[in-house]
């Protein structure tokens, strides 16, 4: 039986899905056994970035709005959770309330930040969103005087982990002969949220709203002529994208137990954008792949030190510098080889070139 015939067989498909599901469930233990616990933590972070990349994908990939300040929503979600679940304000609300709240607050900020940008195009939009990202970060860094809300650059410590009753994810638990350390427990929470994000993204992609976004991305004037309320649709894109970021932020705060404005710099917004573009803008699978790759790659490159030792017998290039050099090189090479991303969106290939370079635009 040929491969494609195999794949289309519903029985095989179902078996494949079951195998994948089992692998995903067993992953943290398999990873710890082979690579060590730090890689389980890296996997957890990768899952958070999957959510972020999917959120940005809605804004950049589906709706074609170049957002260079996306990390602001991550920050807003994180601080919403932290302020309401730590000694900072003395409030300790339950996480079941705070996680959706983080997403909702981020959505609100999405609308707030999106509203002034509605008339802007392309790179102007980029710089304004960049500015908003910076504004949020500066506010978080400075809202410690005259009234101390965010504790400024010192950040918020002792944030409550996800806990219910006496059961806390920040402690290790034993179950069925396996040890669930915090990184394992959080893995499952993050996995559930990431899967949820993937499902929502896929549903959105094939919905009326999704098609409206793509219509705006491809030709805003025509879309508006077709009766699409571009203003509302754009705001919806910002809001939806922001909710993913907000949820991821709230989870991040509970996971780390400490947040400070240092985690929400411009370079982090840029990294999420790289994940989306590299993976394949607009393609959910591509974006997930991009997120995993760009989280794992810098970590894998840490081994460049011992690798140099075993190849050359000595350190030729300072490992931390070599790591960054290789990372930059990887970005350049990946774009030169696959400019539409590793898994470009099928739709993009079908439509007129939308987000193309000036040269092509001018050529019509």
């Amino acid at each position: 039986m040929s491969f494609s015939a195999l794949i289309s067989n519903p029985r095989w498909r179902r078996t494949a899905w079951i195998v994948i599901a089992l692998l995903l469930l067993a992953a943290p233990f398999l990873i710890e056994a082979t690579l060590g616990r730090s890689w389980v933590r890296i996997t957890d972070v990768a899952l958070l970035f999957i959510m972020l990349a999917l959120g940005l994908n809605i804004v950049v990939g589906f709706a074609g709005l170049l957002d260079l300040g996306y990390i602001a929503f991550f920050a807003v979600g994180a601080y919403s959770y932290a302020l309401l679940a730590s000694p900072q304000l003395g409030i300790h609300w339950p996480f079941l309330l705070l996680l959706p709240l983080g997403a909702a607050v981020a959505a609100l900020f999405g609308i707030l930040l999106g509203a002034p940008t509605l008339r802007l195009r392309g790179d102007y939009l980029a710089i304004v969103t960049l500015g908003f990202g910076e504004i949020i970060r500066v506010f978080l860094n400075n809202l410690n005087r005259p009234v101390n809300i965010t504790n400024g650059p010192q950040g918020i410590t002792l944030i409550d982990p996800l806990q219910m009753g006496g059961f806390s994810l920040s402690q290790s638990h034993s179950f069925a002969g396996l040890t669930f350390s915090p990184v394992h427990s959080y893995y499952f929470v993050f996995l559930a949220c990431a899967v949820l994000s993937i499902v929502i993204s896929l549903r959105l992609e094939n919905s009326r709203v999704g098609r409206a976004w793509m219509a705006i991305r491809d030709d805003e004037l025509a879309a508006s002529a077709m009766g699409i309320n571009t203003r509302n649709v754009k705001l919806l894109a910002f809001a939806m994208g922001a909710t993913f970021g907000g949820l991821a932020g709230a989870l991040f705060a509970s996971f780390q137990g400490f947040i400070s404005p240092e985690s929400f710099h411009l370079i982090d917004s840029i990294m999420v954008l790289c994940m989306v573009v590299l993976g394949g803008m607009g393609n959910v699978a591509g974006v997930v792949l991009g997120a995993v790759l760009l989280t794992a790659l810098p970590e894998a490159l840490r081994y460049i030190g011992p690798l140099q030792q075993s190849w050359f017998g000595e350190i030729l290039v300072e490992p931390s510098d070599a790591r960054m050099l290789l990372f930059g090189l990887a970005l350049v090479l990946m774009m030169l080889l696959r400019p539409s991303g590793i898994l470009p969106s099928r739709r993009r290939r079908m439509t007129l070139p939308s987000l193309t370079t000036k040269a092509t635009r001018a050529a019509g």
Partner: protein, 307 residues
């Protein structure tokens, strides 16, 4: 009043530096539609090369004027070679690619430049040897040094020269044609590849001069200095209308003055509730306001809708 004059002077000189770097951004954007994230780092390379040349020549006992000219010259050569190579290797293949692809490439190049600099010059802050004792001048109660005047005049001079060049010379006409419509320009006999390469030559050379000015003015260089500088310059370029040479300088000067005045007066204006730490927020809010009212920047030339 003299405080205000001083703040104005501070802002104009700071803005001149932003303007010099913004010129590189705006020219490349005008021709290619690309935000060259690596431009700030080209400026950084120019800055660090200048320091090295000055360190070597000053130790050899060369007179200050010669040292400066040589430092600027070497920096320009290095930056131009870098800029043109980067264009050839990383941006040219992506000219017909989706628009965000060269953006990501530019980010990759930026990282490469930063860490190559770290390998060559190390990660500490490098001091620029003091060459000339600054001469103090006083205008309207504001204290100036001759260096500050030079920087300001240089920005204006370079802008004027660029405008004159683009308006009158053949290459300038070719640049304008390529900016409007590269394919038709090609049909008219313009070698667009050469024109684009030349744009990078100009941009990188001006970036190198900007780098030299920065290290002279602030006294230090660092492998990471291009990031913030590039960001501010890019903001300035957009403020003035990206793609517009005069706009870049106007945007730069304006941004410098806004930052200066904001730092100086936010505290007084808000009765002490907000302070100079909100300076960057203020600058960005002004930017948003300008763009909301004039979506293509102060001197931008966008006509009609573009998808």
């Amino acid at each position: 009043m003299e405080i205000f004059a001083q703040q104005l002077v501070n802002g104009l000189v700071l803005g001149s530096i932003y303007a010099l770097v913004a010129l590189g951004y705006t020219m490349v954007y005008g021709i290619l539609g690309l935000i060259n994230f690596a431009h700030g780092d080209i400026t950084m390379i120019g800055a660090l090369v200048s320091i090295t040349v000055v360190q070597l020549l000053a130790a050899a006992g060369m007179p200050a004027a010669v040292t400066l000219v040589l430092a600027g010259g070497v920096a320009m050569v290095v930056c131009v070679i870098l800029g043109v190579s980067i264009e050839r290797v990383a941006y040219r293949p992506l000219r017909r690619a989706p628009r965000l692809a060269p953006l990501i490439t530019a980010i990759g190049i930026s990282i490469l430049l930063q860490y190559s600099a770290a390998l060559i010059w190390g990660k500490q802050y490098i001091a620029m040897p003091e060459l000339i004792e600054p001469t103090r001048i006083s205008i309207a109660g504001a204290q100036l040094t001759d260096l500050q005047v030079v920087i300001f005049l240089l920005a204006c001079l370079i802008m004027a020269s660029l405008l004159w060049f683009i308006k009158t010379s053949r290459m300038g006409r070719a640049m304008r044609a390529t900016e409007q419509n590269p394919d038709v320009a090609g049909l008219m006999g313009v070698n667009t590849n050469t024109v684009i390469a030349f744009t990078f030559v100009l941009g990188s050379a001006i970036g190198a001069i900007a780098g030299l000015m920065v290290v002279l003015y602030y006294g230090l260089g660092h492998y990471f200095m291009g990031f913030m500088l590039g960001l501010k310059a890019f903001t300035a370029a957009v403020l003035g209308g990206i793609g517009n040479v005069a706009g870049a300088v106007l945007g730069g000067l304006l941004l410098g003055v806004i930052e200066s005045l904001a730092s100086g007066y936010i505290g007084d204006l808000t009765g002490g509730v907000l302070g100079s730490n909100y300076r960057d927020i203020f600058a960005f809010l002004v930017l948003v306001l300008v763009l909301v009212l004039k979506p293509s920047g102060l001197m931008g030339q966008h006509s009609g809708d573009r998808a």
